[in-house]
């Protein structure tokens, strides 16, 4: 049997690894147009900032693939012919498969802005995007970052590390307020401003201007202001990378539609990772999730199903993390965002903020049971928070055992007693 995997991101590569683990005979090919080897795109910013080299971002050493008999194929796929079980590359080459796994990831969103196709305009997602930014960097003094999400703030930090001024256009009235609660979002606003980033809240991009030679030279925002920039980073979210599937017969909505076992409507075709759209996701998860670990989990699940299994994809309790400049952020379970205020049945939450410091602990609860944690500048244990939420522990129980969740480095200032007192008083 020949399994062909399109995409060498974490989802596709995890699937390949687990396929090999389970079966030593199956032939496995991974196709990538982007890079020869799997790399951690989560580290894109660190390459630009000089914290790491590209080669340091590869999670597996180069001989790993040969040793595990995973064939690496370089090329961009232009067409999938499901009847003939063949994929066609740009340039005409073909490759036939017995089972196909789509793990093509995302593409940075473009909303039809005038000038978005100019040179010196790029998303910040792939090796190619990084090369574009690097090429634009010599002599660059000012750049625009469009979007107030996780990639936007990373690009701002990247530019800042090279002394390049960043103007950051954020649609919402506060950074990442579609995800973060109000106070935490405000905290990040302060961090961004403190670093000297030109943070423009409630501001949208109207147009990117051409310097007459096909390169971006300025942007105009929806307040009519013109900002001279030498680079424009489009970081307003990502969407599944599925355009090449048009006409293939594989069902595509936002992403490739899959059932709970990650199967598409087409026999022997599966989809995982950012490009997959789960038809009926659980109550607390969206249909398309573009985060690292869900790609990994789907890869592990689909490996079993590619070999005839029938395992449901179950990512468990939601969690995520990020770092906003020097401020760490972790979330476990359900945490209502600032913009979701006023909705019915909005759960209650207890918030403790360190005096004057950049630290906070938010415990979200519904009907007396804890359902979520939102943490800024402090680290909690994943397994402990997860089990508390699963076991529907009471606020009192969680507060009493708060130390069990502590994951800050040794000797860190512990605020447990202050947190317990403050939150007990407000509970």
């Amino acid at each position: 049997m020949h399994v062909v995997i399109i995409g060498n991101g974490v989802a596709g590569v995890t699937a390949a690894r687990h396929l090999r683990k389970r079966n030593s005979h199956v032939r496995i090919s991974i196709i990538s147009g982007e890079s020869e080897h799997h790399w951690a795109r989560t580290a894109l910013m660190y390459i630009y900032m000089g914290h790491m080299q590209f080669t340091d971002t590869k999670p597996y050493p180069d001989p790993f693939w040969k040793k595990n008999r995973i064939e690496l194929v370089r090329g961009w796929v232009s067409l999938v012919e499901t009847e003939a079980k063949t994929i066609r590359f740009e340039g005409g080459r073909t490759l036939s498969y017995d089972k196909l796994l789509l793990a093509t990831g995302s593409r940075p969103n473009r909303f039809g802005w005038p000038g978005e196709e100019l040179q010196r305009v790029s998303g910040m997602y792939s090796v190619q995007d990084l090369a574009r930014l690097e090429a634009a960097s010599p002599g660059l003094r000012h750049a625009a970052v469009i979007g107030g999400g996780l990639i936007g703030i990373e690009l701002a930090e990247m530019l800042h590390s090279r002394g390049i001024r960043a103007s950051m256009l954020v649609r919402e009235s506060s950074y990442f307020s579609g995800v973060l609660p109000d106070e935490e979002s405000q905290m990040v606003n302060e961090v961004i401003l403190e670093q000297g980033i030109d943070l423009q809240l409630s501001t949208n991009l109207t147009e990117i201007l051409d310097d007459g030679q096909g390169q971006a030279c300025a942007i105009i925002n929806d307040k009519g202001e013109r900002i001279e920039v030498g680079f424009v980073g489009l970081c307003a979210g990502v969407s599944p990378n599925v355009a090449f599937l048009e006409g293939s017969g594989i069902e595509v909505s936002t992403g490739v539609v899959v059932d709970s076992q990650l199967r598409t409507n087409t026999v022997d075709v599966f989809a995982i990772g950012d490009c997959a759209e789960i038809r009926e996701p659980g109550a607390t998860r969206g249909k398309v999730t573009a985060v690292w670990y869900t790609g990994r989990m789907m890869g592990e699940t689909v490996a079993e199903n590619l070999l005839g299994g029938a395992r449901d994809y179950n990512p468990g309790i939601w969690f995520n993390s990020a770092k906003f400049f020097d401020l760490e952020y972790q979330v476990y379970g359900e945490v209502p965002a600032a913009t979701s205020k006023g909705e019915e049945e909005s759960p209650a939450s207890l918030l403790w903020m360190a005096p004057g410091g950049r630290q906070s602990v938010r415990i979200v609860h519904r009907n007396g049971a804890v359902i979520g944690f939102n943490l800024m500048g402090t680290r909690y244990r994943h397994r402990v928070c997860e089990s508390w939420i699963q076991e529907q522990r009471s606020v009192e129980y969680v507060l009493k055992h708060l130390n069990d969740a502590q994951f800050d480095p040794e000797f860190s200032r512990r605020w447990t007693r202050e947190i317990q007192q403050a939150l007990e008083a407000s509970a």
Partner: protein, 470 residues
């Protein structure tokens, strides 16, 4: 297109546009003091005149370098917000094996060669420290006093750098304070003061086998007048020193390693570790992370351990046999060869001289027999581990990149496994640079120590081919 090929295809440093960080007036002034101090020392060493007259100035210039250097790092790192400061590490020639790295590497190596094999040639420099040496040890300076003073100054100046760089972390602050305390107190001041009161200049923080002569039957380097001669001469101080060395090795080491891992020594107390954690910090990312390097490491560090155990046993046996086995000179030959190859060439020249080329822990990883023993204890008899926080790892690779011991930390973290490796010195930098707060150094119950990870026995069986690999 060319930039793309460079980034995607090779590990060579790609061309990047970096902006030179402009210095502030205060920083320029402090660097000027360092430059002035160096020039002053050079002129003083070359100028004619009596050492007594030059000495006072020498100490002044030396102090100027220490003061200017420390203050410079204080200001330079204090400028930015507390947090990880690794911007531009791989764009810089100094920290990425560029031109300046080679100059520093060769200069350090040359210094070690002069120190070990041509100590007298350093006399114009060490004589300048005579006033300091006289005050501390009651004798005029020699090359070893110079070495001790420079070593302590380096740990101090770069300790300020380390502390300011990681000032958001109390673990790093306390740990850096600890290595400086032990270097200054136990490796510089105390031995000097012992010498002044006519006692052997004993180092309380070094034990066999890192300092093998402390448990050898005789001092083969200095002969009858050496440290060990005094120790074994039957004085109460001598007896105490032997007792101390033996107790530290046989009782304190297993006990402390059980509770805290090998870090209690390697990154909190040891002088080699102290220098690596301060002056070596700019070069920690240069360690080799390949599996091949790990394989070489396991062979070489254990070979060094085996050879010092064998030599120690041999020398004792010779002593007990009334030196019938090897004679007087034969024993010395064994010990001197070990000293030449392992202590001087390996730990000195390669270990420190090659900091900018091989990374800061080359000796600790590939050679140190003390680290081998501590590592064995850490792997099998310890509560220490680095815990991975569930599924939060994003495989970015910061942890592996900045591991000075060349451990591929990510390979464990991305599988959600705890890290229990004999070579880990517990510096804690992997946990600092992780952008998701995934790693935590912990001492805890051994029951869940190997969460997700292989038990040592199983790993050993796999290494021997007796159990299946993944």
């Amino acid at each position: 297109m060319s930039a793309l090929v460079q980034i995607g295809a090779s590990s060579a440093p790609h061309r990047v546009a970096t902006q030179v960080r402009s210095l502030r007036a205060g920083e320029k002034f402090m660097l000027a003091l360092v430059g002035l101090g160096c020039a002053g020392l050079l002129f003083a060493a070359l100028a004619p005149g009596s050492w007594a007259a030059k000495g006072a100035m020498g100490v002044f210039w030396f102090a100027l370098i220490v003061l200017g250097g420390s203050w410079y790092f204080w200001m330079a790192y204090g400028r930015s917000h507390p947090g990880i400061k690794n911007d531009g590490i791989f764009h810089s020639a100094t920290t990425h094996r560029g031109a300046l790295a080679w100059i520093i590497g060769v200069a350090l190596t040359a210094f070690y060669v002069a120190l070990y094999w041509h100590g007298d040639s350093l006399s114009p420099v060490y004589s300048l420290l005579d006033p300091l040496a006289l005050a501390l040890t009651g004798a005029s300076a020699d090359e070893w006093f110079l070495y001790g003073a420079l070593y302590t100054a380096a740990v101090g100046v770069f300790g300020v750098r380390m502390a300011m760089k990681y000032r958001h972390s109390r673990y790093q602050l306390i740990r850096t304070g600890s290595v400086f305390f032990f270097q200054l107190g136990f490796a510089f001041l105390l031995p000097g003061m012992l010498k002044k009161i006519n006692q052997p200049d004993f180092y309380f923080t070094y034990f066999w086998p890192l300092k093998p002569d402390y448990l050898l039957p005789f001092d083969y380097v200095m002969g009858e007048s050496g440290i060990l001669a005094a120790q074994y001469s039957g004085t109460s101080v001598g007896r105490f020193m032997i007792l101390w060395a033996a107790l530290m090795l046989l009782v304190a080491t297993p006990l402390l390693t059980w509770f805290f891992g090998k870090r209690w020594y390697c990154s909190w107390v040891c002088g080699c570790g102290g220098l690596a954690e301060t002056m070596g910090d700019p070069f920690r990312q240069l360690s080799d992370k390949s599996e091949k390097a790990w394989k070489i490491e396991r062979w070489s560090i254990h070979l060094v351990l085996v050879s010092i155990v064998a030599i120690t046993a041999l020398l004792w046996f010779n002593e007990w046999s009334g030196r019938a086995l090897l004679g007087d000179d034969g024993s010395g030959l064994f010990w001197k060869s070990y000293g030449l190859v392992i202590v001087m060439a390996f730990s000195g020249v390669l270990g420190v001289g090659f900091y900018p080329l091989l990374g800061s822990r080359f000796w600790c990883r590939f050679g140190c027999p003390m680290a081998a023993i501590l590592g064995f204890l850490q792997r099998f008899f310890s509560r220490f581990r680095i815990t991975t926080n569930g599924g939060q790892c994003i495989s970015c690779g910061n942890c592996s990149t900045y591991c000075e011991m060349g451990i591929d930390v990510r390979s464990y973290a991305q599988r959600g496994e705890n890290i229990v490796r004999s070579s880990c010195v517990g510096c804690g930098v992997c946990a600092e640079v992780c952008p998701r707060g995934v790693l935590r150094l912990e001492n805890g119950p051994v029951a869940n120590r190997f969460d997700g990870a292989d038990k040592p026995l199983h790993e050993a069986m796999r290494a021997l081919g007796l159990a299946a690999r993944d």
